[in-house]
Symmetry: C2
Subunit: 384 residues, 2 copies
């Protein structure tokens, strides 16, 4: 199905309601009122580059001892600029060019921390189960061509950039990982995180290409706050979100690639629930559009072979620790979402709700230690 046949967004439909109705259910469905940012120059650029631009400001309270720690975050969702089977260098260069436009627009909009979508510099080809040419996209996290390209932009724009790529680890058996690289605002490599939870769902048995990450739950201390990256399928795992919070994350990015009728109702729920449960900001990023491959493949779902695995529905959004969320990017266009947020809100909400104080991690550390044993006996109450 093409983007033309897709509806644009939930928010666009909701805006057709009478104003009072719209306001009332928007309060329930989107939480605390957010405002748009005034970004005329970024809007001009976005128009020139044919990018959708959505913006949002989350409120926070003034404190006496801490100044606000206001940060602008940019998240980018995009279609492939070329067909999936285009030569690798052409595809990658076209994606570089597109990312540069997005990052330039983000810089004009004052963005401090920018995150691309999962495996952003390639087609999301794991449905094909073909190793070549796709494995050729894999590169060194530290000094591959993609990292080199983004280092230059990070330095130029004084921006932290998160770059989710396919990583080739030459030191350890030339293995491949699904990895997010973090580049700081001086253009230096800060570190990486490897996807913790690997899907084996329908088209997405990604363990054909890479397995469960071995980098724990790192939180990257940047000049613009402590950030973590929960890659794609990790959003279904509350413990993955939790550990980034335990390690001190204030913003957790969730670069993803997801399609279809089964995952879309989950999309607005999971990253937002994580923001609530862990009192941090979450940024959910999805691809957009359909990627049609040259060779057909099957999907283990009883259906005939086909050449695409569904429509990436975009709808990237940002959620705040108080449970409110931004308007999403559309379901149909390449676009940039810029949000202004005060990191102080995280601790304010922790103090308000007390979730961390009341979460009884000691009890769960013990419960889980028992649950993983082969002779674990679940706590089931039977009738005497």
């Amino acid at each position: 199905m093409s983007s033309q046949q897709q509806f644009e967004s939930v928010e666009k439909i909701l805006s057709k309601l009478p104003p009072e109705d719209h306001q009332q259910i928007r309060n329930v469905l989107y939480g605390t009122h957010t405002t748009q940012l005034h970004l005329p120059d970024a809007e001009t650029k976005a128009r020139d580059y044919d990018l959708e631009l959505v913006s949002c400001r989350f409120d926070s309270a003034q404190e006496q001892l801490r100044a606000p720690r206001v940060v602008r975050v940019g998240i980018f969702q995009n279609k492939l600029p070329l067909p999936p089977n285009s030569p690798i260098k052409d595809q990658r260069n076209a994606l570089f060019k597109l990312a540069e436009k997005a990052i330039d627009t983000a810089a004009t909009g004052g963005v401090n921390v920018f995150c691309l979508q999962e495996a952003w510099n390639m087609p999301f080809a794991f449905c094909t189960r073909e190793k070549y040419p796709w494995c050729e996209y894999a590169e060194s996290a530290e000094d591959g061509p993609t990292t080199a390209f983004l280092k230059e932009l990070a330095r130029r724009y004084n921006m932290v950039i998160i770059s989710p790529i396919l990583e080739r680890d030459d030191v350890h058996g030339h293995t491949i990982w699904n990895t997010a690289v973090v580049i700081d605002n001086y253009g230096d490599y800060l570190g990486k995180h490897r996807k913790n939870h690997i899907p084996r769902v329908g088209d997405f048995n990604e363990s054909t290409y890479y397995v469960e990450g071995n980098t724990g739950h790192p939180v990257f201390q940047t000049e613009f706050g402590k950030i973590g990256v929960n890659i794609c399928y990790g959003r279904h795992h509350p413990l993955n979100w939790l550990m980034f919070g335990v390690n001190g994350a204030e913003i957790v990015f969730n670069p993803s690639a997801t399609v279809g009728t089964l995952s879309e109702p989950l999309w607005g729920i999971e990253a937002r629930n994580a923001a609530i449960a862990n009192s941090y900001f979450t940024c959910a990023i999805n691809r957009v559009g359909t990627e049609v491959f040259e060779t057909e493949f099957t999907s283990g779902d009883g259906k005939p072979a086909h050449k695409d695995f569904g429509y990436f529905y975009g709808a990237s959004y940002i959620a705040a620790p108080d449970g409110s969320r931004s308007t999403g990017l559309s379901r149909t266009r390449t676009g940039l979402l810029i949000a202004e947020l005060d990191l102080n809100l995280c601790r304010q909400i922790r103090d308000h709700w007390n979730f961390q104080m009341t979460q009884r991690l000691d009890m769960y550390a013990e419960s889980l230690s028992k649950a993983i044993k082969p002779d674990f006996v679940p706590q089931i109450i039977h009738k005497n």
Copy 2:
């Protein structure tokens, strides 16, 4: 604010949209299409009793080796029939009468498992910080008057009944607990669960009355499936939900009492996220209406003393493991939601998404065991 000034429901507003728009965003916001049940006799009873009645059927797939395990669940949200400061026996008897109407209606609608709201047999008086008369509502879980009353109904209607009450534990220092009592469909006491996570949020510092539960995460084996009860504030804690799943729950009830603009945007997210993450059904139940007390109290929010602590917005709903959810009960009326579900869907969704197979509990058991130590060092990546 009275019920008259409140808007009825999100769904009612959405239904004003043009049909195609409505269908499209309903698919995203509510997931897989659900249908209403045909319950003419229950509808007649509900009308006679002045109860709202909402119904819903969740779909599942046919299997070759297992017959469908179809269960009807009923959840009940209600206003207080008398003012909060009415004599205890009057209030309790009026609530008994109301519950009997709801259970009678549920039985007519074929309900097998029925759950009442949190502390259902009393006003939600914990905001007052007064011990009397409220502590007098506490009673034995095993054989107090409320359990005795419901045992009779459970037997009469062949129905499992979950009864969240204030428990008085005479054996252990006459302590008070926030407890859910489970009565089986023969009218026998099956067991109890004590609320694991206790809020200290604004008006709700419930630890004035009771502390963190000591009953673990029991799952009750009934004739109609394995059920758990996550009481109120426990819905904010993903690990609480998780452990009921680890112990095998197929339906987890969340009897709650929550008000206000800060919690309402969270309401539709949390129990639904739990259904997704744990591949079970969740049933979220909230009170409805305003409870105005005779003595004023303050709420630690810088505002003057007042006699009510806000509007319980109802909106009880049921979510399925595939992330779909029912229409909610209204924000304004006492009502009963009946859902028909096939417990087989839990394992079908587990097999589809593989969340349990990929959740790496061993890693998290170790991570949490480290995180609880006083000398824990978070995994933070600094620049070299």
